[in-house]
Symmetry: none
Subunit: 421 residues, 2 copies
């Protein structure tokens, strides 16, 4: 029988928005890798009645409840009490846990106060998950047809406690694995992708196929469930191949972190270097390229020419071009890329110039009017973008940078710069 999991996160700080629920994400990833279906996340505050109500709902719709938070010594930590009560378990003082807690406090030079030993009270007959990454132990027990697993809230404890304590416990319960591949596309909208795949998606059961929109990019996730990894992979392969063939060069990678990472891999393969000249993206291209560790092998550097003065003085864009066409123009974008290639001494240079808003520029170019260019040993190519009328500044900049990266990807892969859908 297949299990269904509910993640119950306890903590008023989550409901106030003081922290984001990264535990739930981490657990969800780990659980789906174990082949366990997560149907609900619930977040509830440090309130015994409401936690109890949430537990009573969870036990109706899941047979595995994983709680995070509320195991520590402070007075609003109540998860263990409520869960033990809900499943008719007594809390029993565990000597071994008490000993570990004491030594942890002594080791970290913190005062050993009475209340810390509250953390050594654990449900009778539970499996104790000793906590080597903090003080509060976790635990697991089965009662009334439900497996209850309690983990500490701090992500630095919850992560390893799941990986090294809860996951081994859960592995015995789960049959099969869930594996997925993510096909990353650029230059095609989610709606278009979905329109093309709707019938196929509806027809598919294993593997399943789902599209996601991401900052102007589109992802297709193919997910298969099987008894063993090899089986799952065998189920995934045909669909992945079919989708790669269907979307052709719009696919920039499968299971890759980002388009900039793909560009850097291509640069490494070709033994080439990259540089940037940024106006509207204001350093975002360089920032994204250097987010990837080891970028220095292929990324030489960049110039953020936010003013015409710098475009002219550092990149050598002629004043005549700037006066005649304005900073937001194809000729200037090209001259910026050529200048960066020369000044930075790189094989490929990317440039961006445009109106990121909030207002039109002095020449009346609309917000969202962008030019990206690439300069290589084979010449220069420029592309004009219209990224919408009332856009979000941050998204405009992100999409413009991605368009520039796509030019580099296409050049390095020997693909045409432009193509029609």
């Amino acid at each position: 029988m297949s299990h269904t999991v509910e993640i119950l996160s306890v903590g008023t700080e989550l409901l106030l928005g003081n922290i984001v629920n990264t535990d739930a994400q981490m657990l969800s990833q780990g659980l789906s890798a174990l082949g366990l279906n997560v149907y609900y996340h619930t977040v509830v505050g440090d309130n015994p009645q409401r936690v109890r109500r949430a537990v009573d709902i969870a036990r109706q719709r899941a047979d595995i409840i994983i709680t995070t938070g509320g195991l520590g010594p402070t007075c609003d930590d109540l998860t263990k009490n409520v869960l033990a009560q809900a499943f008719g378990k007594k809390l029993i003082y565990d000597e071994e846990s008490a000993r570990r807690i004491r030594s942890h406090f002594v080791r970290t030079g913190r005062p050993v106060t009475e209340n810390i030993f509250q953390q050594a009270m654990l449900p009778e007959g539970c499996t104790i998950f000793s906590n080597d990454w903090g003080t509060a132990p976790g635990c697991a027990f089965q009662a009334e047809g439900v497996h209850v697993i309690m983990l500490p809230g701090p992500p630095s404890e919850c992560g390893p406690m799941f990986q090294y304590r809860a996951a081994p416990y859960l592995r015995q319960l789960s049959e099969g694995v869930i594996l997925s591949h993510t096909i990353k596309l650029f230059g095609i909208g989610e709606a278009t992708v979905e329109a093309r795949l709707r019938e196929q998606m509806n027809a598919m059961t294993n593997p399943t196929l789902a599209p996601y929109a991401k900052e102007g990019e589109c992802e297709l996730r193919v997910t298969a469930k099987a008894a063993a990894p090899e089986e799952a992979q065998a189920l995934l392969r045909p669909t992945v191949d079919q989708l790669k063939a269907l979307f052709g060069s719009k696919v920039y990678g499968v299971d890759v972190p980002s388009i900039e990472a793909v560009v850097e891999d291509l640069l490494r393969q070709r033994g080439m270097t990259l540089g940037t000249a940024e106006s509207c993206t204001g350093g975002l291209m360089a920032k994204r390229l250097t987010d990837v560790p080891g970028a220095s092998q292929v990324f030489k550097g960049g110039v953020v020419s936010y003013t015409n003065e710098v475009k002219h003085g550092v990149l050598g864009v002629s004043q005549e071009l700037l006066d005649r066409f304005g900073a937001v123009s194809a000729p200037v974008a090209q001259a910026m890329a050529q200048g960066a290639r020369r000044v930075l001494g790189c094989d490929i240079a990317l440039s961006s110039t445009g109106v990121a808003g909030p207002d039109r520029d002095d020449r009346g170019n609309e917000v969202g009017t962008m030019f990206v260019a690439i300069a290589t040993a084979d010449g220069t190519h420029v592309k004009q973008l219209h990224l919408g009328a009332r856009p979000v500044r941050a998204r405009l900049r992100t999409q413009t940078a991605t368009h520039a990266f796509d030019l580099a990807r296409r050049y390095l892969s020997g693909l045409p710069y432009e193509e029609t859908v």
Copy 2:
């Protein structure tokens, strides 16, 4: 009567852990600022039956339900259908929304496919939230004693749609006002702040005081509830003044968006310009400075000198310095700042060089060893940072950039560059 809110996030990608639920955090912050109590977050997948069950539970325990996700054109977008059904509303085709959706697709040069108009189907008699940040409109309606508000899932749309559409709608529902001021500090740890204020915080009821740690910065939020804004302000003022006095020059602003925005305001006031020379931060400083609209008045540009070649060739750092001290050194940081000031023709230049990891550099400098420098008409100052043993690359870069901005803030405010806590 005081309202209780439940946030219902719809999306299988959340249950698979593909994304973290930042929408719920953003909404929770905004709702508590409106004086609305959030008691539960629920996350459910793209499954009509389970969404319906989640809605039926939410309506029992909340009188405001805010959904995120499931408004887009793809077949697994189902929130509107389920919510309309649950509250006995028909979905009606809205011409105006359809027009806006069409023009958005045309403007952004994407094909207008049939399925995109599914987004123009809206519950009868609802308040339509037009979406200026994407395509899917949101909406709000009241039925059977419950307010239902539906917002799109992508954070870049959900954020502004809440701020500019949902928040004004909700303001009418909340009685009294909750106002807060946020005091932003840099150069002091949250633990230190909390230790100093613990007793005071516990003693306070209205206003309340809460510290938040943010990427190496620290925020103190003072929040007051009152019948009218003036009353709330009167409650807040004394605490804000006291805290500003207590933390002195470690306070870089109150209710300011960021330290870079503060630096740019100071530059405007002084009629001065800024430039950057970045190695380890790789464009992040320039990116953050240009995140602020209108930066071009005070930010001239920057050089991302990720390789020694560019440090020497573009910034004019002497080869002798680079050979003798290495790229990660105080003299090179200073020479980078001086070079940027000269090359970019700006009044103040900031530089960064260091080891962002994952590995030590070739001279054995540990990950987290950073230098930031500032060059002005009055000379140069360099600061060495040790940002910890087990650091995260992204956080190292963010903190290094913030340290550099703090040097500029201190120079422009006539404060000493360094001081002891």
